[in-house]
């Protein structure tokens, strides 16, 4: 059998996102990731909730289930427990996954069931026409917050790590070079993998991530973390992150300035949830790549380790357990 290409993972359905939406690039990266990662179409299931992002399963030529608002992780849990052989992806957004469905996402990450969760974070409700979301920044003007939102936003990375996630990664929708491989990192992780994708809603929250994502400045506003390597970034790769042991925070430094040397730069350890939390909450530079990857038993494995698919007890015998009274002729 010839290897499948990204085109084999596209469907014949017309893609119905707004022209210029960041979702297009993510979809293409999904197609590429599936082809490059050797996913088997019939053994792969995409499960989504409700919202712009959640239309994605219709555009991926695998099994797919477009469910109800916020509940995709629960449906996906049922799919994965029923058939642990399947590769199961969850596609959700900041409203679907962190507002109406926050509870399910929390418990999915806590259980560490083997799902690959892609959260498209555009910091706005797109499909209902632009209301502020739980990740919207304070001051966001929207139809339901005309004076600017006064709510404190939720940080997806902090939420995931707090819930006990074993894998957290982040990328930007326009970063098509690294997205497919990042998705495959998520797929290859046994347990719940949570990927936050900063996604540009060009209609209701246009360029909200420009401070982080704009191509011109990206080298200085993003830090791409790699396990075991010093946390360096910048156009000249001369900026870095140093751990301030007194304030327990990461501070930005420049090599050669104020006596800073490479030895001062924190080495990325993706197995350290404390460091991961500092990196996840860092803004400008904003951390990209695999921020956290730890090992813990996946729920679908533990679940089936104490159960069997085999029908060892037959009903005929079960009917005769308990307190019996035999009135058959002796």
């Amino acid at each position: 059998m010839n290897a499948l290409t990204f085109k084999d993972f596209a469907t014949d359905q017309e893609v119905r996102w707004c022209p210029g939406c960041g979702d297009y690039a993510i979809l293409k990266s999904v197609h590429k990731a599936l082809a490059e990662g050797g996913s088997v179409p019939e053994k792969t299931v995409f499960v989504s909730g409700i919202g712009c992002s959640s239309r994605l399963p219709y555009y991926v030529n695998t099994y797919g289930f477009h469910t109800i608002h916020g509940r995709a992780p629960a449906f996906a849990t049922g799919v994965k427990l029923a058939n642990p052989e399947l590769e199961v992806w969850v596609v959700t957004g900041d409203g679907d996954g962190l507002s109406i469905g926050g509870n399910h996402l929390l418990h999915t990450l806590r259980r560490n069931i083997d799902l690959n969760i892609l959260l498209f974070n555009n910091e706005i409700y797109g499909l209902t026409k632009g209301q502020y979301s739980p990740t919207s920044r304070p001051g966001t003007h929207s139809p339901t917050s005309p004076a600017g939102s006064v709510e404190a936003p939720l940080a997806p990375g902090q939420f995931a790590i707090g819930a006990g996630a074993t894998f957290f990664a982040r990328c930007v929708d326009i970063d098509q070079k690294t997205m497919p491989s990042l998705f495959n990192e998520a797929k290859n992780h046994k347990g719940s993998s949570f990927v936050e994708i900063l996604q540009n809603c060009i209609v209701y929250n246009k360029d909200v991530f420009d401070d982080v994502a704009a191509k011109k400045t990206a080298a200085d506003t993003q830090i791409h973390v790699r396990h075991g390597e010093p946390l360096l970034y910048g156009a000249d790769n001369d900026k870095g992150l140093r751990l301030n042991t007194k304030s327990l925070s990461l501070e930005t430094v420049t090599l050669g300035v104020d006596g800073v040397t490479l030895d001062d730069i924190q080495i990325h350890d993706e197995t350290n949830p404390t460091l991961a939390l500092l990196l996840a909450n860092l803004h400008l530079p904003t951390a990209m790549g695999v921020i956290l990857r730890t090992e813990r038993a996946a729920f679908d494995d533990s679940y089936w380790s104490i159960r069997t698919h085999e029908r060892r007890q037959k009903v005929k015998q079960l009917l005769r357990t308990g307190n019996m009274l035999d009135r058959r002729p002796k």
Binding site: G64, A74, N83, L319, N323, L325
Partner: protein, 620 residues
């Protein structure tokens, strides 16, 4: 008929269950009513903390736990006073005389002691120092006073077993197994049981209490077992899985009184069911639907408030045409209502309770014994038509025990599914002409890769469609699919009685009471028949014709008239309602009086009887 009553921490339910087993082992037919508060250990001695267990047993066919107990065993003043209203005059009351202290009388809001203020003049009262006698009996075993006192339920059980000439062996076996890890407690309970029994045999109490022997019931020559509704539902679901050669995935979230079903299924995990305790009601139904999409049969369970949370997901199961069974163990509502008290008030919710035109089949169990076949029927419909099905039961059925003739399981027909075989060559959404079921193609099969969802889909391809004509067609398909269920079910029959006069039409847990009421009415020469429905939606196709043969249709229900509305809606018939919502099952006498009001008799002069006031009966 006996009623045990005490504090919710007194082991009342345990006494009742043990007496039930002993009675069954003696060959009696029986029916029980556990009646307990929602609080686990309610403040001791209070009226609202009283837990009770009622059992009717005997040498005849028993279908109800009975209206009014012949014997009340009350462990404290509160247990005595809250149960007095149900007693017949001349009933026997056994009380723990040690519990009638000024302090405990006060806890029960009593200003004087009912044992000597004349309250009990019309009853035969036997005060026994149960607490002291228990402590004394177990003293040689060296337990602390508190632990020793806790054995009093077994002491009293021993006495009651003596009174009704029932065997102690099943209880002794149970104690040995339950307390295998604590020999001191085990022995104390065994000693208490024997001491209570010996007290009846040897002491002067025998002058007042007489040992009564109950003859064996005329049972058929088969094997029986005692079973509760929750146990039998669990067995029925597992049996259906075996008949369908399909693994079940039972996803649930704890709620009273539905949790016992989850507990029983956890114990049956080697019989083809995997259980999952989800984070909430919504996740439970969603995981079950996910499992159904993946090729297992998803089953979920809850009670009214939880079912309300699951309704959006049920709509998705209808839209995606996936099989699913939802068991609703109904309880008194609205909102949290009375979690441990029974009611039949979720029929509207089951039949009508979703957004959109979203029909689905609804079946209802009538008794603990009936749960087995009803569970199989629910699964059969879900798999035959590729649809979610709601199975209605209630708190009374879930907890009540009865003697169940074990069915010949080998005679049950297999349940066919729409899983594709190697030969299958058809589009996923091509529907069978008779059932309107689509193919149950699951991930893993390269031939049937497809996407489903809640957005309206094209009737043929299953792809998203906003086409106006297609929505009409799909709405018709969903409706016709549920209607088609009626073509596969047995015609409705008359459970007992004769046509012409009054038809008592009902559903669910009122079965036992109505059986007895109609039987009594027939014996009095009244023209009455009992028609008990298993299929609520769709109704059996011959029901309209069957009911046309009666002058009057009576619909007794533990709600304000939900089946009555459905019958008017679907069959355009005139019905007389009899409704009661007290959290308790119907009484035979109150229904009996209501029947007599309408039923013609074969006697020339029909006696006019009044419906008892305050019994919840009302004419609409």
């Amino acid at each position: 008929m006996i009623r045990f009553a005490g504090d919710s921490g007194d082991g009342i339910q345990l006494q009742g269950q043990q007496f039930t087993v002993a009675s069954a082992m003696s060959g009696h037919d029986l029916s029980t009513l556990p009646d307990f508060p929602a609080e686990i250990r309610a403040p001791a001695g209070t009226r609202y903390g009283v837990s009770a267990f009622q059992i009717q047993f005997g040498g005849d066919r028993i279908t109800t736990p009975g209206d009014a107990p012949d014997v009340l065993i009350a462990f404290n003043p509160a247990a005595l006073v809250v149960n007095l209203g149900n007693l017949k005059a001349d009933s026997l009351i056994l009380v723990d005389a040690n519990a009638f202290t000024p302090q405990r009388l006060k806890r029960a809001d009593l200003l004087s002691n009912p044992l000597d203020d004349g309250t009990l003049d019309s009853y035969q009262v036997v005060p026994i120092e149960i607490s002291n006698l228990t402590v004394e009996a177990v003293k040689p075993l060296g337990l602390g006073t508190k632990d020793a006192g806790r054995c009093k339920n077994f002491w009293a059980l021993g006495l009651i077993l003596w009174m009704f000439d029932q065997p102690r062996e099943p209880t002794q076996d149970w104690i040995k197994q339950k307390f295998a890890g604590n020999t001191q407690i085990r022995d104390a309970n065994l000693v208490a049981l024997d001491a209570g029994h010996a007290y009846g045999e040897n002491t002067e109490v025998a002058q007042i209490l007489h040992q009564q022997h109950t003859p064996e019931a005329p049972l058929e020559s088969v094997e029986y077992r005692t079973i509760t509704g929750a146990e039998n539902l669990a067995l029925g679901l597992v049996a259906a899985g075996e008949l369908a050669d399909t693994e079940l995935m039972f996803c649930s979230y704890p709620i009273t009184p539905a949790s016992s079903l989850l507990h029983h299924l956890v114990g049956l995990e080697e019989a083809g069911v995997a259980t999952f305790q989800a984070e909430d009601e919504i996740a439970a139904v969603c995981a079950a639907i996910g499992a159904s999409y993946a090729g297992k049969l998803g089953v979920t369970s809850s009670s009214g408030p939880g079912v309300a949370l699951k309704m959006e997901a049920l709509g998705l199961a209808v839209a995606t045409e996936l099989p699913l069974v939802l068991v609703n163990s109904q309880r008194a509502g609205p909102s949290t209502g009375m979690p441990t008290k029974t009611e039949q008030s979720d029929l509207y919710q089951a039949v009508y309770g979703r957004n959109g035109d979203t029909p689905l089949p609804v079946v209802a169990a009538r008794s603990p014994a009936d749960c087995f076949d009803t569970a199989i029927e629910a699964v059969r419909i879900a798999l035959r038509h590729m649809t979610p099905v709601i199975l209605l039961t209630d708190g009374y059925i879930a907890n009540a025990s009865e003697l169940w003739p074990i069915p010949d399981f080998e005679a049950y027909p297999a349940i066919n599914t729409h899983k594709p075989t190697e030969q299958t060559q058809q589009p996923v959404f091509e529907r069978q002409a008779d059932t309107l079921a689509r193919l149950w193609a699951a991930p893993g099969d390269a031939r049937f890769i497809h996407r489903v969802g809640g957005i309206e889909k094209d009737v043929d391809s299953g792809n998203i469609s906003y086409d106006a004509a297609n929505h009409q067609v799909m709405t018709n398909v969903r409706s016709q699919k549920v209607d088609s269920v009626a073509n596969f079910i047995e015609p409705q029959r008359i459970d007992q009685g004769v046509s012409g006069g009054v038809a008592v039409v009902a559903w669910g847990s009122t079965y036992g009471t109505l059986y007895k009421a109609v039987k009594d009415a027939l014996a009095e020469g009244e023209q009455v028949a009992h028609i008990h429905l298993r299929h609520i939606n769709p109704l059996p196709s011959n029901l309209g014709e069957l009911l046309a043969g009666f002058e009057t249709i009576i619909v007794p229900e533990l709600n304000t008239g939900q089946l009555a509305t459905l019958l008017r809606d679907k069959l355009n018939v005139r019905v007389e309602q009899f409704n009661k919502v007290t959290g308790q099952p119907l009484n035979v006498e109150e229904v009996r009086a209501f029947i007599s009001k309408f039923a013609p008799t074969t006697k020339t002069i029909k006696q006019q009887e009044q419906v008892p006031a305050g019994a919840g009966g009302r004419l609409i």
